[in-house]
């Protein structure tokens, strides 16, 4: 035992060079190329992930960063998380001035310990240790060394030498040291070459290193961070986690691990079983059974998150959910799975990464890249997706939270990588009709009817389902783009289904919608659908454009104008076509009535950096066209002539 410990210490000493002497971190030694756009420069970093056994690994981290200015302070403090799965073994830290002279070192009593439960959870075992030197004379350098021990080989953190934008790196390295029997894979992004591999007697070491990474300035709509900076992901072929054994060799095997965790957790109490039969036995259509049971689940459970130890991966048993009527995404999905199973319908527990715009995924690298669970019900014709964490979504609709991305479906045989459906241009349709009357004072009485489809209805779905009618009214009062207005009445009607739509009718009174100065009347015919996007020109755009969600908006507007005006200036018809979409708007005047038509198609996708200028022009043209004014002048005045 003693011997082994000494061995470890020696390795440690070899890995971490002697304490930085004065001057090593002097800011003057930073190359000017690294100072550009940087608030912070990482001077050195050595990370060592050491595997002792399948249930004991250690992460040794040492790094020094030079903070160049006030905005860099955000990176100067140390934050280390811990919980039942990882323990902080030691923390050391030192502060250096701009010349690299050591000023002071960390004292354990200055390390703050705090609860770190996320806002969505009732309970977690997550805690955090925080330390900072709070120095404010720039530049200065902080150096930290931490040792963290894991009780599993499941958590194998990727290496990101450059964790953020405006953050340059002088040098950083990552080593994996493991016994010769331990095998793992890696996946590299923006890394030239291969790791250096060295083998000792019963041990091998892989080492990646990176140097002189200039600071990155993020641009509008850039691809995911992983694609623009150096990083390496890891996965063990085999692992252990809280007494369970698993493998990441393939998606199938990773899925088998979840199968183990879920084993025997689908038993329902008798009363619930009876309920399932009572609800579905008389129904013949399987799709209908799914819908009924899903709605039953939605009405009788709620989302409560409790994450303790392996509970971060393993669902609460179905009987627990039945009794308490709550659970997190895992528990509720597993409960729904159990309900369907009782009704004789097969479904699959499905791992996914949730959130708007989560594009990054490594389909050829079978690791846990997920943070959410949904349920997939394969049916004879189509697949029904169920978001079990939401109490109001219609059965089969994924929403922007989980649509169009990879997911790992789990069945008895293991895991299967699939892709969730994408809601496309025509499905994300917003179609609006406005009939309005303008009075002599410029006040506009608006009656609008809007049909929102697909992803375009997500926000409104949330609004009307999560807020009381009173609150919805308050929100409408805050959010519409009129200077001063009142909502006379409003109504929403949902068409629930695999592709839901919401019909909104609003009756709004807007004061001073039109500007009347003397003899003239100025009015913007685009009443409610104006585009706000305006981008700064950037001749040096570096990264590709990644545009999120595609949609169509169609507007028709009819406004009754006060009598006795005639046109002085009429906006020209606008037609813009680009690779990002199409836009058309036109205004007509007939018998004191104004008719406006607008249609926009906005595409999603990936575009090369050089297309940015065209996007700026496209948005500018729309921005301008959406605010075009029609100018009318009083007839009698006009007669006088000029």
């Amino acid at each position: 035992m003693m011997k082994k410990l000494i061995g470890t210490l020696l390795v440690l000493a070899a890995c971490f060079p002697a304490k930085a002497g004065d001057g090593e971190y002097a800011a003057s030694k930073i190359s000017p190329a690294l100072l550009k756009n940087a608030h912070v420069v990482k001077r050195m970093e050595e990370i060592r992930y050491e595997v002792s056994s399948y249930n004991k690994t250690r992460l040794y981290k040492k790094y020094a960063i030079t903070v160049l200015d006030e905005a860099g302070n955000d990176f100067a403090n140390l934050f280390e998380h811990y919980d039942k799965l990882r323990t902080i073994k030691s923390i050391e830290g030192r502060l250096y001035d701009g010349n690299g002279k050591e000023l002071k070192s960390l004292k354990n009593k200055d390390v703050e310990d705090r609860s770190n439960i996320s806002g969505i959870s009732l309970m977690e075992d997550s805690r955090i240790k925080i330390h900072g030197f709070y120095y404010k004379v720039y530049p200065y350098t902080v150096e930290y060394e931490t040792v963290i021990e894991f009780n599993n080989t499941y958590m194998f953190y990727p290496w990101f030498p450059q964790p953020a934008e405006q953050y340059a790196v002088e040098k950083s390295s990552m080593s994996v040291v493991c016994p010769s029997w331990f095998t793992f894979q890696y996946k590299m992004f923006n890394y030239n070459g291969e790791p250096i591999v060295s083998e000792a007697k019963e041990e091998k070491t892989y080492k990646w290193q990176s140097a002189n990474l200039p600071a990155i300035l993020k641009e509008y709509a850039v691809p995911e961070w992983q694609e623009i900076t150096t990083c390496v992901f890891f996965k063990p072929d085999k692992f252990e986690f809280e007494g369970y054994k698993g493998s990441m060799s393939s998606w199938n095997e990773l899925g088998q691990f979840q199968v183990q965790l879920n084993q025997g957790r689908d038993k329902l109490p008798d009363n619930i079983k009876q309920k399932v039969h009572q609800l579905t036995d008389a129904i013949t259509d399987a799709n209908e059974k799914v819908r009924i049971l899903y709605e039953y689940m939605q009405q009788n459970t709620r989302y409560i998150s409790i994450q303790l130890g392996i509970g971060g991966l393993q669902p609460f048993e179905a009987s627990y959910v039945a009794k308490n009527a709550y659970g997190d995404c895992k528990a509720l999905s597993n409960y729904m799975y159990s309900l369907l199973k009782e009704a004789g319908i097969r479904s699959c527990y499905t791992q996914i990464k949730a959130g708007q715009g989560e594009y990054f995924f490594m389909p050829e690298f079978s690791t846990d890249q997920f943070d959410h669970i949904i349920l997939c019900v394969p049916m004879a014709k189509d697949t029904i997706w169920l978001e079990c964490t939401d109490q109001t979504l219609p059965a089969g609709y994924l929403s922007g939270f989980t649509n169009d991305r990879y997911a790992l479906l789990i069945d008895e045989s293991g895991g299967h990588l699939v892709h969730t459906p994408k809601y496309s241009l025509k499905e994300n349709l917003q179609s609006r009709n406005i009939y309005a009357i303008l009075d002599e004072e410029g006040a506009l009485q608006i009656k609008s009817t809007t049909q929102y489809g697909g992803l375009q209805q997500d926000n409104i779905h949330g609004l009307i389902n999560n807020l009381s009618k009173e609150k919805v009214k308050e929100v409408l009062h805050e959010q519409l783009d009129f200077a001063t207005y009142d909502i006379n009445s409003f109504n929403y009607k949902e068409e629930r289904g695999i592709l839901p739509t919401i019909k909104e009718t609003l009756d709004i009174a807007v004061s001073n919608y039109a500007t009347i100065t003397g003899k003239r009347l100025f009015i913007v015919p685009n009443v409610m659908t104006r585009n706000y996007r305006k981008l700064p020109p950037d001749a040096e755009r570096k990264y590709d454009l990644q545009l999120g969600f595609e949609y169509i908006d169609i507007d028709t507007v009819e406004i009754e104008l006060p009598k006795g005006y005639k046109t002085e200036s009429m906006p020209k018809d606008v037609v813009v076509e680009s690779k990002f979409g199409k836009y058309a708007a036109s205004v007509k005047l007939k018998d004191d009535k104004l008719f406006y038509f607008r249609r926009i198609e906005h595409y999603s996708g990936r575009y090369p950096a050089k297309d940015y200028a065209e996007l700026v022009t496209f948005y500018d043209a729309i921005y301008k066209a959406d605010r075009n004014k029609l100018v009318l002048v009083k007839n009698e005045e006009a007669k006088k002539g000029f």
Partner: protein, 700 residues
């Protein structure tokens, strides 16, 4: 300065034992209007309660589920049917007294948006020696299933979690099991506390409507508490009964034996009930909803017979004296502090005049220390440690500033205040619990200057607008009362635009914009993050496509004493239009009414007074004649001119002179003034949208 000085909406009744006189008093407020408003709201509407509902734990019947909407608020997603609390004093075995707080609550969840009410958190305080203790927790969910009431009990042993937030606070939390739309929930618990200073306050009002909210306190005669009540709701019942109660004290000795003592004392049972209390909405331009919520709270004033009389709550001068002797506040300030010798020398940078000295010391503290908490009234570490660790809460940083100033022979005193978001303080009573902020007051050449070195973005003599919350106290011998009013700070913004025709006959122009001080702080932060270039790029983006910016510059970025100035030069793009329409405000007009809601329930509180001036002079574009100018107008919010908007425009030969000025002198507006205020801004937006019209000259 404005005479409008209403700051504290608190009414209190002082309970003086043994006379047992309730003395409702109104403090503060110079305006009779508000006085009337408040007078009418806080008294008992019905003291002879005829029919009181009874709430017994578990007595839920099927009939209780029949109500699906409640009259008080038809759109409520949950309703608290009863919230009943009580506090009694008990003798303990530490030869002292403990507080026993009981809470019973029953609520009806009407739809899923009310599920939040099923998540319960009970904070418990601890200081290492004593910990408040949660006892007898019981929580049950009731659902109506097939006409029968079905109970699901909370498993207290396994489903109550303990979250150690920090060394002084533990939160016990749980959620009710088996919650559905329609569930009725009930809980009760006791908290046993040895902190007699911590007599539980009571909120009569919350996120959901409360049909019955009741609090009782059995106040023994030997403790005297000051009772403070606030809000706009009236009591349904407010009464008190005198009883006599036996108290038993014990003290356990090391050997396990104990000394016991018993005595009888007069006890007054107070009872406060509010009925049908609507939820309080959060509205924009509100410092904190805590100023408005219906609430009652208590402060220990004195201890009397059978104990030795002890005045716990003293007059302000005594409190200030104690603070100045307190190790956690001023004790260090009185000392010679020779350990600061070197730092004073460094900070002074050789300054000799008092003004220079103060400026240098202030800047040194501001630029070298990091504030990690902006809401503290005490030291949490010694000043020596603050100096060493280079960080501290705002009280620590400002007390260190004072120590340094005094060491440099400058008069400096701490000022204690409550920030706007922390709520109003009491004008008269020294209720320290309500204070959360400490700044420094110094006297230079007979002039008072307030300093806050914890705000690294602020210049000399500038305070965060959060500090302007009315009454505050200088912690000196006299505990001098002072006032910091938001009306006294003015956010002054000036924009000047010139447009002329150049030699080629094209319109060119320049704009100089000096932002308000607080706006500048925000702009500076943006520049720190992204740099000047990105900032200017964003600024240019704000211009519409009819202007080509040729030059741009931003001034006073590094000089935080001054507001930020932005200067641009531009070409006006012109085609061959027959008519040119031009808004003289360019892109600077106010486009949105800040007051969106149609109604207002409590006063509008703005952070500062506003003075925005926009001046433009332009030459009529070459080849065009003026066809129409917007009308001039002056809008006054009221006769006193508490808010004034001027829109002046005229032409002379080929020039147009334009000026818009928005002046809002007052920062607080009452609900009955709201409609006017909204209309005032409506007119501002309307005028700011108006256009000048030029027509092409007909062929000469």
């Amino acid at each position: 300065m404005s005479d409008y000085t209403v700051k504290v909406l608190i009414i209190f009744c002082k309970i003086e034992e043994p006379k047992l006189i309730n003395l409702p008093q109104l403090i503060i407020m110079k305006r009779s209007k508000l006085l009337i408003l408040l007078c009418s709201i806080f008294f008992v509407t019905n003291s002879s309660a005829q029919k009181e509902p009874k709430f017994k734990f578990g007595s839920i019947t099927a009939a209780d589920f029949s109500t699906t909407t409640y009259e008080i608020d038809s759109s409520a997603s949950a309703v608290v049917l009863a919230d009943i609390g009580s506090t009694v004093f008990e003798g303990n075995n530490k030869s002292s007294f403990s507080l026993v707080f009981k809470n019973y609550r029953r609520a009806h969840i009407l739809n899923k948006n009310g599920y939040d009410i099923a998540n319960v958190e009970i904070p418990l305080y601890t200081n290492g020696d004593m910990e408040e203790e949660l006892q007898n927790l019981k929580a049950v969910t009731y659902n109506l299933e097939n006409g029968k009431v079905v109970e699901t009990k909370l498993e207290v042993k396994t489903a109550v979690f303990k979250d150690k937030i920090n060394k002084n606070l533990v939160i016990k939390k749980f959620t009710f099991p088996n919650i559905k739309a329609g569930s009725i929930i009930e809980f009760e618990y006791k908290v046993h506390s040895d902190y007699i200073f911590n007599l539980q306050p009571w909120d009569f009002q919350g996120q959901f409507p409360r049909l019955w909210s009741e609090y009782r306190v059995a106040m023994p005669a030997f403790y005297t508490y000051v009772t403070l009540a606030q809000g706009y709701q009236s009591f349904y019942i407010k009464d008190q009964k005198n009883t006599r109660t036996a108290f038993h004290l014990a003290e356990t000795r090391g050997t396990g034996a104990s000394d016991k003592a018993s005595f009888d004392a007069n006890v007054t049972d107070y009872r406060w009930v509010m009925k049908d209390v609507p939820p309080l909405k959060t509205e924009s331009y509100t410092s904190t909803i805590r100023n408005h919520i219906a609430r009652i709270e208590f402060q220990l004033q004195s201890i009397g017979e059978p104990f030795t009389y002890q005045n716990v709550m003293n007059s302000w001068p005594v409190v200030a004296k104690d603070l100045l002797e307190d190790e956690d506040f001023g004790a260090q300030l009185k000392k010679d502090n020779s350990w600061l010798k070197d730092e004073v020398a460094i900070a002074l940078k050789g300054a000799t005049s008092p003004m220079e000295k103060v400026k240098n010391i202030y800047a040194w503290v501001r630029d070298n220390f990091t504030c990690t908490n902006h809401s503290r009234r005490y030291l949490e570490q010694s000043l020596k440690n603050v100096l060493k660790s280079r960080k501290g809460n705002e009280a620590e940083i400002n007390l260190l500033l004072i120590a340094l100033l005094r060491r440099a022979d400058i008069q400096a005193d701490p000022v204690m205040l409550s920030t706007r978001s922390n709520g109003f303080i009491h004008a008269v009573y020294p209720l320290l619990g309500r204070f959360n902020y400490v700044i420094c007051l110094t006297m230079i050449d007979g002039k008072q200057v307030y300093l806050d070195a914890s705000e690294s973005d602020m210049g000399f003599g500038k305070l965060n607008y959060e500090c302007f919350n009315g009454n505050a106290r200088v912690i000196n011998k006299d505990a001098t009362p002072i006032t910091l009013y938001s009306e006294s700070i003015k956010e002054i913004k000036n924009t000047t635009v010139f447009i002329i025709n150049n030699e080629e006959g094209k319109s060119i122009g320049s704009m100089t914009k000096v932002s308000g001080y607080y706006e500048s702080v925000g702009m500076r932060n943006k520049i720190k993050e992204k740099g000047k270039d990105e900032f200017l790029k964003d600024f240019k983006k704000g211009f519409n496509t009819n202007f080509d910016i040729t030059t741009s510059r931003v001034d006073s970025v590094a000089n935080i004493e001054e507001p930020i100035g932005v200067y641009v030069e531009f070409d006006v793009k012109s085609g061959d239009e027959d008519i040119i329409y031009m808004n003289p405000m360019l892109m600077d007009g106010i486009k949105e009414n800040p007051f969106k809601s149609a109604q207002r329930f409590y006063p509008v509180e703005m952070p500062y007074a506003i003075d925005e001036t926009y001046n433009m002079q332009m030459e009529i574009p070459k080849g065009y004649v003026l066809d129409e100018l917007p009308k001039q107008s002056v809008v006054k919010f009221n006769e006193e001119g508490d808010a004034v908007f001027e829109y002046r425009i005229s032409s002379y030969e080929s020039n147009i002179m334009f000026r818009s000025r928005l002046l809002v002198k007052r920062t607080i507006f009452l609900p009955e003034e709201y409609e006017n205020l909204r209309e005032f801004f409506n007119l501002v937006v309307k005028k700011h949208n108006e256009q000048i019209v030029f027509k092409k000259k007909s062929n000469p």
